[in-house]
Symmetry: C2
Subunit: 450 residues, 2 copies
Amino acid sequence: MESKKITIIGAGLIGSLLAIYLKRHGHKVAVFERRPDLRKAKISAGKSINLALSDRGWRPLKDVGLEEELLKMIIPMKGRLMHDMKGNLTFQPYGKEGQAINSISRGGLNALLMNRAEEMGVKFHFNHKCLDVNFDHNLVELEEKGNTFQVDSDLIFGTDGAFSAVRASMQKTDRFTYSQTYIPHGYKELVIPAAPSGDFAIEKNALHIWPRGGYMLIALPNLDGSFTVTLFLPFEEAKHSFENLNTDEKVVAFFKEAFPDALEFMPTLLSDFNAHPASSLVTVKSYPWVQNKTMILGDAAHAVVPFYGQGMNCGFEDCYELNKLIEINGDDWDTTFRQFSTSRPENTNAIADLAVENFVEMRDKVGDESFLLRKKIEAHLNDLYPDMWIPQYSMVTFNPDMGYAEAMKIGKLQKKIMDEVMSVPDVTENWQNLDFEMIMGDLKELLKKP
Amino acid sequence: MESKKITIIGAGLIGSLLAIYLKRHGHKVAVFERRPDLRKAKISAGKSINLALSDRGWRPLKDVGLEEELLKMIIPMKGRLMHDMKGNLTFQPYGKEGQAINSISRGGLNALLMNRAEEMGVKFHFNHKCLDVNFDHNLVELEEKGNTFQVDSDLIFGTDGAFSAVRASMQKTDRFTYSQTYIPHGYKELVIPAAPSGDFAIEKNALHIWPRGGYMLIALPNLDGSFTVTLFLPFEEAKHSFENLNTDEKVVAFFKEAFPDALEFMPTLLSDFNAHPASSLVTVKSYPWVQNKTMILGDAAHAVVPFYGQGMNCGFEDCYELNKLIEINGDDWDTTFRQFSTSRPENTNAIADLAVENFVEMRDKVGDESFLLRKKIEAHLNDLYPDMWIPQYSMVTFNPDMGYAEAMKIGKLQKKIMDEVMSVPDVTENWQNLDFEMIMGDLKELLKKP
């Protein structure tokens, strides 16, 4: 393959993985990042502290040879562990025996990717802010310490996140379809520290959820025995909102009422609550992702809310899919860019919509008995027909060979059928006597329709 | 009412009408406009040359005392006159006897509004470009002839159109939900000049449509006997597209094939086609419209595609609705701003969606016999039940007391019922024997549901 001079804007998770993929093909790759080097500075890597890595993200990381390192960094979470108001626990597996999603440190994973990229010869430039991109001449305008300069390239990739500067330049071109949609909720990160013994204070191998209808608390384990706890709450216009939690007394009273069994393990609640901002949650969709020799991908092209645990996984899958096209098209980059930007958005739009829908499920329905029964029946269908009735969560999380759009489409049909099943009068007592063959037949029929 | 210092950004149709309304309440009103004064310079007023003024726009113009002047400026269009490929004509009235939409010059109407505003004491400043708005301190940063300066105000209104600078400043604030969505079609303005006698070359009192499925041509009359003709065509990726019409021969061949009876009256087709750009068509939605003491309205807040003829009318209705709130709330501007920006978007989102839907109807279905029968049956229902079955087009165009959202909701229910009616096997021959009372009863039933 002809060696190209490639500039990547953004050294986050997606930009760093993309750099590895491109370097592997022998290109000259430089990455410019607005922030300082997170391996040296004590800075937040932005957004959440830990993330749930699942199969769509794992596949490309394994593909570039990082599986061994990954295995040391993860804590498998085998299911959701729901905490009700009285502290009762209900466990709901994410998939089958052996399937799990993996809690991983964002900063740790990012450092791993940057280290590997540097070892391969990728050049990273930190504290460089992208000001603008000239698409006609493939020039990136950058600023470092008050000085501005231009970099010319054969190809430019924007992986600079939900508030992408590269995308902002694209927005100035004609016919750039774009949306940014905020949900009424924000999030705030809190902590359950490790127990004095160094052990995990609550169950280690689960994603904890305190579903409370209009809001929720979740917790993901960290390697050091702590949990990163995230409160999702409306900003305003609700009884319980960030706006209303404006005194220490109110914060404590709220946790006492809503999350008593979490509060007991949160000695630093007030200092964490007061130190961390309430951050907003946005869905970004854009089209087209390409202007001449410049392409955006990852959050820069399609940011999603975190409720399906797919933002990072989807961005890594972008790199994987792009690399497949590079291997097919070789030096014909125009074709690679065109194919990627026409085929991929269908899937990224689907996961964006699924993530918004899943918030309602997570914060509300997972505490509901009828919902748990529905999941149980679906799990049984999956046992009977392992290749034909796969729950939507599993299609999205554990079946990377199926695109998000296909998973969404099949999930909608399953929901339609399950709505009918759940309306059978004595379904709670007699669900085991359902005609599962007929239910499976219904799905097959629906799937045949165009 | 306490007199306020008010700054309006944008002296287009909406800004000029808003200035009149605000001046009427005794405020000090200054309007800053990026372009030169269109009353003095020979410039395009932006976008289309003529527009269809209907009841929602007429009401506020009458409200501010401009009806007499308006009557001299309009050409009523009583319905759609469809031209088929062979030049056969079909007329479809827009409403009842006496109802019409009105072709009017954008520039002429804008000048009328600016003149009236100036007479009342509004100050207009042309060639002033808005660079930024500081919402916390109510400061607008402006540029004139290379000099930048700031204007402070009690209240700021952004009526600077689909590519609003005021909205661009709002986009930099957190949690600003925003979308810009382009359709695959563009438009190009052409001309049918007046006949040598000075008469109209084709029927004067109609909106002419050449519906051709994937594209269409329309023509609206001007006072001087000419028609402004607009070609709507995909930019690319279609047999007939702007991309493919890249030689004079192809343009002429295309018109000969698709619009032969229009071509005959278009002696300047090629020079017009080559002189005018193909412009894009965008829908803009945004929320919230208010930041502190600054509000956006009109296209700046909610641009729509032109296929329901409601962009200007909707913007004028913004002014009318806002003025109603000002009269209720008096000096309590915070309440006026909050109420307007929470209640109005439901209606502007509805007309945005209806306008996109109506494009399919205009370019495709209006040439269809089954569609014309459907319209005939609906017109008959309207004759029988004039207050209860009002066609959606009439609700939107001739019933300003009903909001766009309500019109869309009722229209969807009517469509559901009419889909069933149109599936009656012998409906074409025997539509007059339909049980109209039952059909009306079905709509009443549907309307009762929440």
